[in-house]
């Protein structure tokens, strides 16, 4: 049985919840079980925000992440907060603008220009979350290219389809060009195989 626990963290307004929802949608569209939830403070924007997606071949009991296989952080605050007691085999994806703390020296950490690429290459800073979805699907192999596209289109606001698909493609490109070393480990490869149908 294959099970993946994903945690995405950032600042309220960055769209990490939507990114997490798109990943959950991709799982459902691939015939898998999923549980997606989030926690945030009372603020509308700017507070710490954490979103979680569990993907499994079997029905899911407990709906929260306990042993993350993957963590993405888009802000320094989120990175510092959610890297406490992180399992050793957890893959960490961070925005290039962040300082990777000492405690992650034993982890596989991938730094990608998520926020910059959204702003400069795609042309809209708000697409960073969908760009991240592209990165994550490329890294973890949650589903195929067609399904992740479909999942994205089901959840982005009307009128933004084109630019979000551009962001998705850019995310895939960023992750695939980020050389193999960080995403190589055997555990990952095995899970990736199990996750594909």
């Amino acid at each position: 049985m294959s099970k993946m626990e994903l945690r995405l963290a950032g600042s309220g307004g960055q769209g990490v919840i939507l990114a997490s929802v798109i990943l959950a949608e991709a799982a459902v569209q691939s015939g898998k079980y999923t549980a997606q939830s989030q926690s945030y403070g009372p603020e509308a924007r700017g507070g710490a925000c954490k979103a979680e997606t569990l993907i499994s071949d079997a029905p899911i009991g407990f709906t929260k992440v306990q042993q993350p296989d993957f963590l993405m952080a888009l802000t320094q605050k989120a990175l510092d907060k959610y890297t406490v007691s992180l399992p050793e085999d957890c893959l960490v994806l961070v925005d290039e603008s962040l300082t990777v703390p000492e405690k992650l020296s034993g982890h596989r950490v991938l730094c990608l220009p998520i926020l910059r690429a959204a702003k400069e290459t795609v042309g809209r800073a708000q697409t960073a979350n969908v760009l991240a979805v592209g990165c994550i699907n490329e890294l973890l192999g949650i589903t195929d290219a067609e399904t992740i596209k479909k999942a994205t289109l089901l959840h982005v606001p009307r009128g933004t389809e084109e630019i979000n698909l551009k962001a998705l493609t850019e995310g895939v490109r960023l992750a695939s060009s980020a050389s193999g070393q960080e995403k190589a480990p055997a555990v990952r490869a095995e899970k990736k195989k199990g996750a594909k149908q």
Partner: protein, 378 residues
């Protein structure tokens, strides 16, 4: 063919309500129930229904009651702070026998507490929050799929017994997104309230054919041409207030018994692996998810563990729990509060076996390991 769609618990509640026939939602948005108001505002106009945002929670339940009296299936939704405000009118709906569904997506309290954090602190309030002896039906879902189907059942029970039904969700299920199994529309049973065939000025609005064992009076929707009085005072069949002890006793007896006499129709509980269980985890709502994983972990360790989960919390499934007790060596009650359902379990257990308690009231969720620890402490 059953279809699986990604949906949030709050959204499933709205879709279930619409499938059940809800055509009026009156509310005042509050985290973590806001999506219910939001989606109702979007969906109701599509099906010929109405959404109205009222000035506060008291007005919202009053509006839902008014809509229902006019013959429209109505719902309101809130969280703890708003549920406190709704209590007065909830009692009114009980006594005046107005079918409505009140959703409470529980959050950490008391007072405004922690708006985005899970809790199950309103369990006793849902039973006794409004003053005076009164019957109540409270249902608590444990998955997104169940949020959909149990909302339909909440409406059906509300209509059949002309009583408010409380749909007691928690933040865990309200804000959870997962795949929902959608059945075909024709596989869903919809119940409508007993309604008068034609307006008759001579007909007493709360008249019942006692010889036929009728417990629920037929309703004449306001606007149909029949004029009558509705009051929160104890009333007789004419709908007008009375101080007669006989009439008061008759009404109270009927109100309580229209629920308690229909235990089998109203009460639902789920029992998982209870056939050979030595230890039972008693839980409800979102806590079920941690319990499921805890049970699996316990079974892997060779502990014969099962789950007893009330789906209808009030009336509590006491017949089923009493029957299950015979084979149990221990009960572990898990809930996100300082101990509410555990009191009911202790009352029914009467010392037949030890009852352990796993509670949490700091805004975080109970983990499977925390439940497992109590299961293992034999």
């Amino acid at each position: 063919m059953d279809q699986v769609v990604l949906m949030q618990g709050n959204e499933a509640c709205v879709e279930g309500a619409i499938a059940a026939g809800m055509r009026l939602f009156a509310g005042y948005p509050i985290t973590p129930s806001t999506e219910i108001a939001e989606l109702s505002a979007y969906r109701l106009p599509q099906v010929g229904g109405k959404f109205i945002q009222m000035e506060d929670e008291i007005a919202s339940i009053a509006c839902a009651i008014g809509g229902s009296v006019a013959g429209v299936k109505s719902m309101t939704a809130t969280s703890g702070p708003g549920f406190s405000l709704k209590q007065e009118n909830l009692g009114y709906a009980c006594l005046a026998e107005i079918p409505i569904v009140v959703v409470d997506v529980q959050r950490m309290g008391p007072s405004t507490g922690m708006p985005t954090s899970p809790s199950q602190g309103d369990v006793m309030m849902s039973r006794w929050g409004t003053h005076g002896d009164h019957p109540i039906i409270v249902i608590s879902p444990s998955s997104v799929t169940e949020a959909y189907y149990q909302t339909i059942r909440a409406f059906n029970l509300s209509e059949r017994y002309r009583t408010p039904v409380i749909f007691l969700m928690d933040e865990i299920i309200g804000h959870l997104r997962e795949g929902m199994q959608m059945k075909e529309a024709e596989d869903i049973t919809i119940v409508n309230r007993p309604t008068v065939q034609f307006p008759d000025p001579k007909r007493k609005p709360y008249h019942m054919n006692e010889k036929k064992g009728q417990m629920v009076p037929q309703m004449a929707p306001f606007g149909c041409g029949q004029r009558y009085n509705i009051t929160g005072l104890i009333h007789d069949e004419s709908g007008f207030p009375t101080n007669s002890p006989e009439e008061a006793e008759k009404l109270m007896y009927r109100l309580m018994h229209k629920i308690s006499d229909n235990y089998k129709d109203i009460v639902r509980c789920e029992q998982v692996n209870m056939d050979d269980a030595d230890v039972a985890i008693v839980c409800y709502g979102g806590t079920m998810r941690a319990a499921q994983t805890a049970m699996e972990l316990a079974r892997e360790k060779g502990i014969r563990c099962g789950i007893f989960r009330p789906v209808t919390i009030w009336p509590f499934p006491e017949r089923e729990l009493t029957a299950a007790l015979k084979n149990l060596k221990k009960i572990v009650v898990a809930e996100h509060n300082c101990g509410q359902i555990v009191l009911e379990v202790e009352r029914l257990t009467r010392g037949a076996c030890p009852v352990a308690f796993v509670g949490k009231w700091n805004g975080t969720v109970i983990t499977p390991q925390e439940i497992l620890q109590k299961v293992e402490e034999a």
